[in-house]
């Protein structure tokens, strides 16, 4: 199959633009990715990048509070935003007649968002409810994405809670928001992506019309968040008030996805060999043969693969009955990793992982929301939106030796072990 069409250009103010036309359905997706995530938060301001994401929906020079939502939805569209370690994204997916409206909405808040005390206080309350819903009131809330980083990493940017502590959130001021916006939300620090049903030339003219006069501002130089891998096995325990049974998360470091993409992808294939499908190594061993876990999963990146720059995480997580010890689960995982490191996966195992990936990628591309966001984040993080389309081929190129080497690198003497204990001891 021919690779889908991709075009890119940069506006004089520095805004990078990616176009991915596809006229098979009369819908269009628009996203803006800003090159700032929660790794850029200073100490004492945990959760700020995410809180700020909420404020970007609260009005701009041409749009009163609530108008953004109403305009997208009354055009027949859907919208959202999300905050990741290294970026924050915003998007709309709408019937294609509303393309100009989506561009207008994104341009207006890139140029002049309205940040008020009232909206800040309101959204702090909303974010606290979001944290109660997803973390504090829920079993396994924040497991492992909030709980594992402080074990695996030493430095504040990599280790802290990206959702934020309530005290930090409450201390946020309007002036903090203004400083954050001026620093990180410059057009030169963003990527605009348009995918779906549109005409290239018309859309280019619309992008220039709406984003052209967003003034250029200096783009902050991104600091390196690099830090050394753990020396030794680092352990921590966490008590979960609501969980009915224990869980474990093993965290490892992976190669830099930007500069060593093939090396990184070997871990992605390894994750498939370990836990994708009933025939995978850890499903077979832990669930079906030993019967010591209820569920097991493995993957690159705590937000999904290729969703962050270096340093990134490989994790293996399992929920297990309290009669089973964490040590039993860890020992079985280590045995399977050792076997893979020594013998490598079979050709058939690789063929399975590759075929499922080809199919998964097509399915992601078929959903306009995932296609738009995937192209935008690949362009922002790797400078190459087309990476998304090249992944199946690159994954097919990963060899059994490379997967064996990746398995070998998941060493017990350089990893984080998080043990989650139920408050009731698992005997409620």
């Amino acid at each position: 199959m021919a690779l889908p069409e991709l075009h890119r250009f940069t506006l004089p103010n520095g805004l990078r633009v990616v176009f991915a036309p596809d006229r098979s359905a009369p819908v269009v997706g628009v996203s803006v990715h800003y090159d700032v995530g929660f790794r850029s938060e200073p100490e004492g301001r945990t959760g700020f990048a995410h809180l700020f994401e909420h404020l970007m929906f609260q009005g701009s020079e041409s749009l009163e509070k609530l108008a953004h939502f109403r305009h997208v939805q009354s055009s027949g569209g859907t919208f959202n935003g999300s905050t990741h370690p290294d970026y924050t994204d915003y998007y709309e997916v709408l019937p294609s007649a509303a393309l100009e409206r989506a561009l207008f909405l994104e341009a207006d808040r890139m140029r002049a968002p309205k940040i008020t005390e009232e909206n800040l206080r309101n959204q702090i309350d909303v974010v606290k409810e979001e944290i109660r819903l997803n973390v504090l009131n829920r079993p396994y809330g924040g497991f492992p994405w909030i709980l594992l980083p402080p074990v695996l990493f030493q430095t504040f940017p990599n280790a802290h809670n990206g959702y934020g502590d309530f005290t930090d959130l409450e201390n946020a001021t309007v002036d903090d928001c203004a400083a954050f916006f001026d620093t990180y939300y410059a057009p030169g620090n963003a990527v605009l992506t348009v995918a779906g049903d549109f005409d290239h030339e018309e859309a280019k003219a619309l992008v220039e019309k709406h984003f052209g006069d967003v003034p250029a501002r200096p783009v902050p130089s991104r600091p390196s968040f690099a830090e050394a891998a753990p020396r030794g096995e680092v352990r921590a325990e966490h008590t979960d008030q609501h969980a009915p049974m224990p869980a474990i998360a093993l965290g490892y470091r992976v190669p830099d996805p930007v500069n060593e993409v093939e090396g990184y992808l070997a871990y992605l294939v390894l994750a498939g060999v370990l836990t994708d499908g009933d025939g995978s190594r850890l499903q077979q061993r832990l669930v079906h043969r030993d019967g010591i876990v209820v569920d097991v999963g493995a993957g690159c990146g705590l937000f999904g693969p290729l969703e962050a720059r270096d340093p990134d995480t490989f994790s293996i997580t399992a929920i297990h009955p309290s009669e089973v010890t964490a040590e039993q689960v860890i020992a079985a995982v280590d045995e399977e990793l050792l076997r893979l490191a020594e013998e490598g996966p079979t050709a058939q195992e690789l063929a399975k992982v590759t075929a499922r990936w080809v199919s998964t990628m097509h399915r992601e591309h078929d959903r306009l929301t995932s296609r738009t966001l995937g192209l935008g984040s690949a362009e922002l993080l790797f400078g190459r939106a087309e990476l998304l389309y090249e992944l199946p081929e690159k994954l097919s190129g990963i060899t059994t030796d490379e997967v064996a080497a990746a398995a070998k690198a998941l060493r017990p003497d350089s990893r984080a072990v998080l043990i989650l204990n139920p408050a009731s001891g698992g005997n409620e």
Binding site: A25, D125, V127, N137, A179, D295
Partner: protein, 462 residues
């Protein structure tokens, strides 16, 4: 913060020399391409809907088999437990394939196939590269006509199921859903979405095989195939694979539910909860009712999307919740309106007050023309976007098919929405959103919630 020493103030950021700009008009909307489709019934009674959508070289498959408990009461019935074990083991072995063979064959064609069960239906959901359609259908055929339920698989899955049920029941939304269903429907089998652990523990391989023989039936079931293929060819492929799937009688549909009547909410205690689940319910209308499109718009105005009265009030104005919504649930011969919100314990009673206030306002200050137009455009547009992928379209169509509807209903719905008048919306709003029509549950820490809920009234405390 770590910003440059000099930055603009929030006021300076919020304005430009040019000032506010005019909001662009909508462009010309291109119509969706006509869907090339076939809707037919095979000799064995299986209804097949095949639709061409060639955006990616994949095929999506959904099979829905009505799978209700034939008993009128779930009390003393082993159906839910047996059905759950069946769904978890139907793909674990046949005469020619082991569990690993099933996974391997599907994986090699980029495919997956899963089975899940609820009080209404047994559902198979799968996909593959379009070149793997024959493999996908053959694995499905093998499971439907020759699942052997190997002893060791049944035993292992039974044990695992007990743990998974325990995990599920620790989730606040599951606790709330179970409490609501019991409150609304008592011992009607529809209320039993999950069996008890001790009921699962006694299910045998023979029980599951007997249930399969009696209930996994083509007559009454529907298979939807959406993908990069010609519908006629897809139907031939399905007929070739599943034509030999036969069985006596018709798959068992759920018996009609008792009508939801308004009344007090029930407070359900959850120790140590820092947030409460508010779950309200009232009678709705089935999709084929001529007043349904008006009710669909009224629901959107109330809490059916972000720009709704409920979300603007309790989230965007008062910050009581991250997530609030209202939505219809369709059941055989009827429908329920559901309202969900999760709120901090301190503001739960206040949020319930506002939720009821907005219900009352639906009838007393009926939706305006602007509200109706906004929701109408949203309803039409979101139908277009949510069905623009193969998977989205397949899931939507199989749900419609479960209500006896098909592609025609889907294609005709924008016109029905366009025809709704503001008066029709006002009329259904007054009738269906009356606070007196609702009942429901609140799940949370009863000690914290009781004083304020008692003061508010209309809530039965533990």
């Amino acid at each position: 913060m770590s910003a440059p020493t000099k930055h603009r103030s929030a006021e300076e950021i919020g304005r430009t020399a040019l000032g506010p700009r005019p909001f662009p008009e909508l462009g010309e909307q291109r119509a969706a391409a006509d869907l090339d489709s076939v809707d037919t019934t095979l000799a064995n009674g299986l209804r097949v809907i095949a639709v061409r959508r060639s955006s990616v070289p994949l095929v999506e498959l959904r099979l829905r088999i009505p799978f209700a408990d034939p008993a009128t009461s779930s009390t003393g019935s082993a159906h839910a437990a047996r059905a759950e074990v069946l769904a978890n083991t139907v793909l674990t072995g046949t005469a020619t394939r082991s569990r690993v063979d099933v996974d391997t064959e599907l994986a090699l064609v980029g495919g997956e196939l899963d089975a899940v069960v609820d009080p209404e239906r047994l559902a198979f959901s799968g996909n593959a590269l379009v070149t793997g359609l024959d493999t996908l259908l053959d694995v499905l055929r093998d499971a439907l006509t020759g699942a052997t339920y190997p002893n060791e698989e049944v035993e292992r899955e039974r044990g695992r199921l007990v743990e998974r049920i325990r995990l599920a029941r620790s989730q606040p939304n599951v606790i709330a859903r179970e409490a609501l269903q019991r409150h609304l429907y008592g011992d009607h089998p529809f209320a039993k979405e999950m069996p008890e652990a001790d009921e699962v523990a006694v299910v045998t391989r023979d029980d599951v095989r007997a249930l399969h023989a009696a209930a996994v039936l083509p007559r009454g079931a529907v298979l939807v195939v959406v993908g990069d293929l010609a519908p006629d060819a897809a139907v031939r492929a399905v007929e070739g694979a599943l034509g030999g799937w036969t069985g006596e009688g018709t798959a068992v549909a759920l018996s009609p539910l008792p009508v939801v009547r308004g009344g007090d909410l029930l407070l359900v205690h959850r120790q140590g909860a820092v947030q409460s689940q508010i779950r309200l319910a009232a009678r709705g209308l089935e999709r084929t009712d001529e007043r349904y499109p008006a009710l669909q718009l009224a629901n959107l105005v109330y809490g059916g999307f972000f720009s709704s009265r409920l979300v603007e009030n309790i989230r965007e104005d008062k910050g009581y919740t991250y997530h609030a919504r209202s939505h219809p649930e369709f059941t055989p011969g009827g429908a329920t309106l559901l309202v969900d919100a999760d709120t901090a314990s301190e503001v739960t009673a206040a949020a319930l007050l506002e939720t009821r206030y907005e219900l009352a306002r639906m009838g007393l200050v009926p939706p305006t023309e602007a509200e109706v137009d906004t929701t109408r455009r949203y309803a039409i547009g979101s139908l277009l976007t949510s069905t623009s992928s193969q998977g989205g379209l397949a899931s939507f169509l199989v749900n419609l098919a479960g209500l006896g509807l098909g592609v025609d209903w889907f294609l005709g719905h924008p016109e029905r929405l366009a025809a709704v008048t503001v008066e029709q919306v006002a009329e259904v709003a007054l009738e269906f959103f009356a606070p007196s029509a609702f009942t429901g549950v609140v799940v949370g820490d009863a000690e914290q919630l009781s004083p304020k809920l008692r003061a508010l009234g209309g809530v039965t405390l533990p």
